[in-house]
């Protein structure tokens, strides 16, 4: 039998080989000192690794009561949601206010007056506002329209 490779040694240590393969290896280890040494050193190192990792786990750990959101991260999430929701509420309110303003604004008469003029000469800026005769001009433009229609 050939010498054992690392993978086989590892699987052998971890008891992950089928029975037949296992026996074959044990048979080989009986007579091959170098492989036996390899297996022993690998096993020792694996044990050491497990023990070192074990030092990071405290011995006396009790199961605490389950609780939602006891973690800092959860609090951050909640804070984030609070900020986002308050900002969006503010935006919504602002939008509503703007919409109401736009809808409730009365149409300005001045705009109508200006667009009612046909040409710039019709508008006499020397007269005070109250004395300007808008009705006359309007009637003229209406008659013109009717002329065209007829």
């Amino acid at each position: 039998m050939k010498h054992l490779n690392d993978r086989t040694i590892q699987s052998y240590i971890d008891n992950e080989l089928p029975e037949s393969k296992r026996k074959e290896i044990e048979f080989h280890l009986e007579e091959c000192i170098s492989c036996k040494q390899k297996v022993e050193s690998q096993r020792a190192f694996t044990d050491k690794l497990k023990k070192s990792l074990e030092t990071t786990v405290p011995n006396d750990i009790a199961v605490p009561e389950f609780s939602f959101g006891s973690t800092a991260r959860y609090k951050v999430k909640v804070a984030r949601i609070a900020i986002i929701s308050s900002l969006s509420t503010a935006c919504a309110i602002a939008l509503i206010v703007m919409a109401v303003n736009l809808l409730s604004k009365p149409k300005t008469k001045s705009a109508d007056f200006i667009f009612d003029y046909y040409t710039i000469e019709d508008y006499d800026a020397n007269k005070p506002f109250a004395e300007q005769d808008f009705a006359e001009f309007k009637m003229r433009s209406q008659s013109e329209e009717t002329d065209i229609n007829l």
Partner: protein, 151 residues
């Protein structure tokens, strides 16, 4: 709290805590991670998400959240202190090995943690989504890396 959830919580808490503690090397953070995992599990259950294998689901989500936490902590450490407190003077073997594990990739660390917890190759393959036949080879390679780092 419904009794089935309570039962799962009681029976898996320590197992998950050990994994988280080994990944993060800090008790308080590990507790946080495990609470997070069970919170996620609770909501997954109440939202009728499909959980095929409870144990695998929990272990996998512990590992994911552990890695997530580690990345966040790494960011905080680099911002607060440019030199993380690696004890260069203490040279006992255990801390050397732990230091070597810290230098492995996230996937390798996760494999080593599961392996040290006594999971079989089959379980490791299922949890990590690796090929069952490659676990032995991968493990021996990772152990080799740690060995080289320690020596």
């Amino acid at each position: 709290m419904d009794p089935e959830f309570e039962k799962t919580y009681r029976s898996y808490y320590l197992e998950l805590f050990r994994i988280a503690a080994k990944m993060l090397k800090a008790t308080e953070n590990a507790k946080d991670v495990v609470q997070d995992v069970f919170t996620a599990y609770y909501f997954a259950r109440t939202n009728d998400k499909v959980i095929r294998d409870t144990k695998n689901w929990l272990v996998r989500s512990t590992i994911n959240k552990g890695i997530d936490y580690k990345r966040k902590m790494a960011r905080i450490v680099t911002m607060e202190s440019p030199l993380p407190d690696t004890d260069e003077n203490s040279h006992d073997e255990a801390s050397d090995i732990l230091n070597a594990i810290d230098h492995l990739s996230e996937k390798e660390q996760m494999l080593i943690v599961l392996y040290s917890e006594g999971y079989s190759y089959k379980e490791i393959a299922e949890i990590t989504g690796r090929n069952y036949h490659s676990i032995g080879k991968t493990l021996s390679r990772i152990l080799d890396k740690i060995k080289k780092h320690v020596l």
